[in-house]
């Protein structure tokens, strides 16, 4: 059962909401950023040798580790020609005092499903190329995301970390009889690189990539995934509150512009990672 997280909505929060709004009116943020800027992003790939692919992404004080393990298995009966792409996310208790040990709660599940929505449901992976024997044997990609340190907005660095791990992943090749072909590897058949941006809303103002203080004080927020040609491949309003219909156009425009900006950095990090293998 989903229940209201005990989020501070006290007087202090309303004051912070006010403060952030006033700064936004002046084109400013509490941490010196411009309203539409992401925090500093760092991307490291191949950080876990035992994984087939891995990436550690920092976005400000939020740090996400993704690892990919590839196995053989049976396809879903309604998708006999497709490999399996399985995303899991854990909000590790190391990362924040608000995360508790135990199986993923609704936030972890939401995170995994939003990442999956951006990547798999946006058709960015050619799953048919991960099929060995239709109906019998396919590659399974387990994409496991761990939030290691949490200072707001785990969605965008998680999508980025999953894509960086996928783009630098090497899949051992198998024959149709399920035998490992020694020394042969293939890449994940990526069609497009979706990235996401989380946009916070206070009244009529937008801000990009909220840090945790901002996150707690927003009116509401939405995650938007876009591919390399600015198609929207996922949307997910991820907190209570109202989005005025009149704001949607600017939201999409901001998303397009800002994702464009981080894409170059992402592609460069992946290129280095691919060469490193």
């Amino acid at each position: 059962m989903s229940f209201l997280p005990i989020k501070e909505r006290s007087f202090a929060v309303r004051i912070m909401n006010d403060k952030i709004y006033k700064l936004l009116q002046q084109g400013k943020r509490i941490d010196e950023r411009s309203p539409y800027d992401f925090r500093k992003i760092t991307i490291q790939t191949n950080v876990v040798e035992k994984a087939n692919g891995s990436a550690l992404v920092s976005m400000g004080g939020t740090r996400i580790l993704t690892g990919i393990k590839v196995e053989l298995g049976t396809p879903y009966s309604d998708r006999p020609n497709e490999g399996i792409f399985s995303v899991n996310a854990e909000l590790l208790p190391l990362a924040s005092k608000s995360f508790e040990p135990g199986p993923p709660d609704e936030r972890g599940i939401e995170l995994a499903r939003v990442v999956d929505r951006c990547i798999r449901e946006g058709k960015s992976i050619d799953l048919e190329r991960l099929c060995l024997v239709p109906g019998k044997m396919v590659y399974i990609l387990y994409v496991d995301i761990y939030v290691l340190d949490y200072d707001g907005n785990y969605f965008d660095p998680s999508v980025m970390s999953a894509m960086a791990a996928l783009a630098t992943c090497t899949i051992p090749k198998y024959s149709a009889t399920g035998e490992r072909i020694e020394g042969e590897y293939m890449k994940v058949p990526i069609r497009d690189i979706p990235l996401s941006v989380t946009i916070g809303i206070i009244k009529d103002k937008l801000l990009v990539d909220p840090c945790s203080v901002e996150e707690n004080s927003l009116d509401t927020s939405i995650v938007i995934g876009m591919d390399s040609t600015s198609n929207i491949v996922a949307m997910h309003k991820n907190s209570p509150g109202h989005i005025p219909l009149s704001l949607m156009e600017s939201i999409i425009n901001v998303a397009e512009e800002q994702i464009g900006k981080i894409r170059a950095q992402f592609m460069e990090a992946v290129r280095i990672g691919q060469e490193g293998r």
């Binding site: 309604d78 600015s230 997910h236 209570p240 509150g241 109202h242 949607m248």
Partner: protein
């Protein structure tokens, strides 16, 4: 075991598989006060999609450490019967049901005056009896009605509907088969009086223009659903919500 071939979803004359045009809603049935024991309840049928919602509360929060001093907490469970889908759904909550419980709860929180009931809890239960597309939006629509039926004060009602993209066309209220074989599915929950969105998701791929068109179509569909909600409340309570 073959991968089902994608059927043609829109024919030459622009008709959908069930005969609807792109902007048509399926037959809609709305009822309130359908479950005896709950404090408020509603039932929605949208084509073959059939959903109950029930509300209990405001009541004491339990366990107590979940209580919040300055408002009520709102609990929400979106759940499907095992036989609601083509393939039998496993018992217990799937990850999908857990996610949808969260987005529906957050949509409802946006309009309920939670601060009027400090230290209390309001429970919203949605049961999908049959799932033929648009269950989260039908569930949200029913839940909003059930809250009203329970006399829980709200800023305004919520109405919700999905729009989709199939065979390149933006359509209103996709059925399950359209959702499965279509290019995109966008559930939208709107608070019509303030013209704001309280639920918004997108699965699949749309251009910016398609998104814009989709949102416009959603607003049209929601107006129809909102009318039906208001009528059924007026019929039961003799006063329309818009007058509240």
């Amino acid at each position: 075991m073959e991968q089902a071939a994608k059927p043609k979803l829109i024919d030459e004359s622009g008709r959908r598989l069930d005969g609807r045009g792109p902007t048509d809603l399926r037959p809609l049935k709305v009822e309130v006060g359908v479950l005896e024991k709950s404090d408020g309840s509603a039932y929605i049928e949208l084509g073959k999609t059939k959903v109950f919602a029930a509300v209990y509360g405001p009541k004491e929060a339990h366990p107590k450490h979940l209580a919040v001093p300055d408002r009520a907490i709102l609990n929400c469970r979106y759940h499907m019967t095992s036989f609601s889908t083509d393939e039998r759904k496993t018992l217990g909550m799937t990850r999908r049901e857990i996610e949808l419980s969260k987005v529906i709860r957050e949509a409802l929180e946006s309009v309920v005056f939670l601060e009027e009931f400090p230290r209390s809890a309001i429970d919203v239960f949605i049961e999908v009896v049959q799932a033929d597309g648009g269950t989260r939006t039908a569930g949200l629509t029913a839940a909003s009605l059930a809250l009203a039926d329970a006399g829980i004060p709200m800023r305004e009602l919520i109405a919700a509907v999905a729009v989709g993209k199939v065979d390149g066309t933006i359509i209103l209220d996709p059925s399950d088969i359209e959702d499965k074989h279509g290019e995109a599915d966008m559930p939208v929950g709107i608070a019509p009086r303030s013209n704001t969105m309280v639920l918004l998701q997108l699965n699949g791929k749309m251009t910016k223009d398609e998104l814009k068109k989709g949102l416009e179509l959603a607003q049209i569909g929601i107006q129809n659903i909102y009318q039906a909600q208001c009528e059924v409340l007026k019929k039961k309570y003799g006063v329309s919500m818009t007058e509240v």
